[in-house]
């Protein structure tokens, strides 16, 4: 039962992530739905450029308090996880860009409900923001899992049981529930671990859902091809037979086999279709019993236990359980962290633009956010449409291809391709005796790292190198590249010839909204570029699509930030190569051993491993790839075998072949 008035503390968040200004209290006296947003008729008007007009609703009933995203551009987050609709509990933090709303405990008495920190609040301001003085009530702590976890780095099992929350014990627990978790669990299962010993916790029932969303947004629908190898199969720990052979079996064609034979020198590299990868993951999920192991929940925290294991606190999403019954603990001997990209951040000038000019939000998009509307509008509009595409990576290539497709419906679409500098045919990155190929001012590489980073001599060399040498290799071998695809090359060449594609070189110095030239005319965006020749070129465009990628900062995940702080975990660092030698840059991923163990979390016999993008800068370059996830999985599971304390049996040639045979016939491992 909900006690009215329901109270939220509302705080404004500055660009640095800290709270600013005074706290306010939002009082909601009766059930109903209250719209939060920038529109004038919002019940709770919040300003801010990244706030949508109709951003979210607070829905109050006698049973629960919930938030519902109203299709906002920048999303609604509960405790750091993006949600569509979510039931709240006291202490939950709802964030939308620039604002933090915290559900407070019910007031002790009717009289004190309208008294906040001793200040009498006008009760007529029900469901409106009420400004209190700076002396707002002390921050209420969430009771779960803070009651057991806060301020402790080791917790006792008895204390967890005494808390009244359900406590379950398993051997292995995968935190994340995405592709990284799936690949690790797949290895455990193929090494002979029973499904009943494993729990995987995540907020998406389908392991590839988040990945698929990024693909769709960056214009790779299921029938398009990914940038991945035939033998990099996240659904098959052996990687054989590859996707190319699978296509032959499914009657799609034999072209892939010849591509694999000649790639990357004599033919374009083979890449699998997104939909085929997802279909094969579905099959493997069924085979290993993913649904039996999977728990749909949000992981809130992790602590060492006094008996050499780990307590993982999570909150069930959906399902039958209500209220406090949704808050649970699982105790595990071995934990695997693969939480993927935390809340992502745009590049600075793009972020500044959308913050300062929210009305022009529809004119600009990052390639990883949903922006299909742009293509639809550009196709529908008769007459010229200018689109600035920024960046030269694989995503930019695909976006340009999508615009090229749109030209079939509106031949007046023109593409301005903004790149920082031209790259001549002999200006590609150099690593010792080798130089990277350049085509049309873009560096060419089949995959996002040189191939031998996955399993050749560069993998060995990188793993053996010290921190600084690793940083140098990372910066020399990394960088923005695209794949050599004849259709992409043809688009750039034909477009330049026919005048609908033009590269523009220089730094973007300013982004400004371009007011509509007349009624019924759409708005635009003005892009100023300091060209390499030293001139300023001003592009009046209809749309800007930023393909420079996303910045991942693991501290932006509340779960990882809590772990970093509680156990003082070290992080990897980026390095820049300068004339004075390598310069240490900002922190990147979680520091882990060559076996992907997070040493700072070792707890007697307990082990914690990590995988994926949160280990960037660690023992392997291509952590954020299908094959990289398999590499880290096999390293960590092999480590469990070597240590002989968790009864994981080695996967030698005979057992490996036996397991593979089971895979081939679709038998449960």
């Amino acid at each position: 039962m909900i006690t009215f008035p329901v109270r939220f503390r509302v705080r404004q968040i500055g660009i640095d992530g800290n709270t600013m200004g005074s706290s306010r209290i939002l009082l909601c006296e009766e059930p109903g739905a209250f719209l939060v947003g920038k529109t004038d008729d919002a019940d709770v008007p919040l300003t801010g450029d990244a706030v949508s007009r109709r951003h979210m609703s607070i829905v109050l009933s006698a049973e629960d308090v919930r938030v519902r995203d109203e299709g906002s551009t920048n999303g609604t987050y509960v405790n750091g996880t993006r949600v569509a609709e979510q039931v709240l509990e006291v202490g939950d933090q709802v964030s939308i860009p620039g604002w933090l709303l915290e559900l407070l405990a019910p007031a002790e008495s009717a009289a004190s409900a309208t008294r906040i920190a001793g200040v009498e609040v006008d009760a007529s301001l029900v469901s409106r923001l009420v400004i209190t003085d700076d002396d707002a009530p002390p921050p209420s702590r969430r009771t779960f899992p803070e009651m057991e976890f806060a301020g402790k780095d080791i917790v006792g099992i008895e204390a967890l049981r005494a808390s009244g929350h359900p406590v379950e014990e398993v051997k292995f627990c995968a935190v994340g529930g995405g592709l990284g978790s799936f690949v690790w669990v797949d290895h455990l299962r193929c090494y002979g671990i029973s499904a009943s010993d494993i729990r995987a916790i995540g907020t998406e029932e389908v392991c590839y859902r988040t990945y698929q969303r990024y693909c769709k947004n960056s214009q790779i629908p299921d029938h398009e091809r990914l940038r991945s190898n035939s033998l990099s199969r996240p659904d098959n720990i052996w990687g054989f037979p590859g996707y190319a052979l699978r296509e032959v079996g499914k009657g799609i064609g034999v072209k892939g086999i010849f591509q694999v034979f000649g790639e990357p020198t004599l033919s374009e590299s083979y890449t699998p279709r997104a939909g085929d990868v997802f279909d094969s993951l579905d099959v493997e999920a069924k085979r290993i019993g993913w649904s039996e192991m999977f728990v749909k929940a949000q992981v809130l925290g992790l602590r060492k236990t006094s008996d050499g294991r780990y307590a993982v606190a999570y909150k069930l999403w959906g399902g039958e359980a209500q209220g406090e019954a949704r808050n649970r603990y699982v105790i595990a001997d071995v934990v695997h962290l693969a939480t993927g990209y935390p809340a992502t951040r745009f590049v600075d000038d793009f972020q500044t633009f959308i913050t300062n000019h929210p009305d022009s939000r529809a004119q600009v998009a990052n390639a990883y956010e949903p922006h299909d509307q742009m293509y639809i509008e550009a196709e529908r509009r008769g007459g010229p449409v200018q689109v600035v595409v920024r960046g030269r990576g694989i995503v930019a290539s695909r976006i340009i291809q999508r615009l090229h497709e749109a030209r079939a419906k509106n031949p007046d679409i023109r593409i301005l391709h903004s790149m920082r500098t031209p790259i001549g045919a002999r200006d590609g990155a150099v690593f010792r005796k080798a130089r990277r190929l350049v085509r049309n001012n873009v560096e060419i590489q089949p995959f996002n790292w040189p191939k031998s980073c996955w399993g050749g001599d560069l993998r060995v060399e990188y793993e053996r190198a010290g921190e600084e040498d690793r940083g140098v290799m990372l910066s020399q071998l990394g960088g923005t590249t695209t794949a050599e695809r004849s259709d992409w090359i043809a688009i750039a060449e034909r477009g330049a010839e026919e005048g609908w594609y033009r590269p523009v070189y220089g730094n973007i110095s300013d982004l400004q909204p371009l007011p509509s030239p007349g009624p019924e005319q759409p708005d635009g965006v003005q892009v100023s570029i300091n060209t390499v020749e030293g001139n300023e070129e001003v592009l009046n465009a209809d749309y800007l699509i930023d393909c420079t990628g996303l910045i991942a900062d693991i501290r932006r995940s509340p779960f990882l930030a809590d772990l970093l702080d509680t156990y003082h975990l070290p992080r990897n660092h980026g390095y820049r190569v300068t004339d004075q030698g390598p310069q240490k840059g900002g922190p990147t991923g979680l520091r882990c051993t060559n076996d992907f163990e997070i040493e700072g979390l070792r707890n007697n016999q307990g082990r914690v491993y990590a995988a994926g993008t949160i280990t960037t800068g660690g023992p392997y370059l291509a952590v954020d790839s299908f094959l990289g996830l398999q590499y880290s999985a096999i390293r960590s599971v092999d480590h469990l075998v070597t240590e002989r304390i968790h009864k994981v049996r080695n996967l030698g040639p005979l057992r490996s072949f036996g397991g593979w045979t089971k895979w081939m016939v679709g038998a449960r491992p």
Partner: protein, 161 residues
Amino acid sequence: MIPTLAGRLQTRLFLFLFIGVPVTLAFVFVLAGWKFDYDIAMPFLLFLVTITGLGLLLDPIYIFIQTTRWDRDWPFAYQFFFSWVEFGIVFAVARAGLIPWLPVSVEGQPAPLVDFSSSAAIGLATLHFACVFIPSFLALLGPMQAIFVRWRFKGGQFGKL
């Protein structure tokens, strides 16, 4: 393929032992009329040993070529091509009578049972090498990984990571 030097050497020896030798024995068994004939088997085995030995010597050169490639990889097509180059070199040198342990006919002496300088030898040696090469090459395309699950991450080496 993204082999390392150790991986190349180990995989080459493995394929020689577990595909090359058995296939050669089967080949000469059929050739000799469904019976084992030591005198026919030996020249073919030695021929294969010579190719493998030459390959082991050439492997460092292949690795050097890899370092000049940005991806430091070795396309399957190269593997295919250079396997036949190795065969061609050994066969040509054997034909010239320059490899003492591979028999050629010498004037004034009785012709050996297997004569690498004879015209029939071209077809026979090519057939033999094809029988060894095809399964070895196919094994590299993936089946090796089904047995040695870490092999692909170790650039063709065996053992743990």
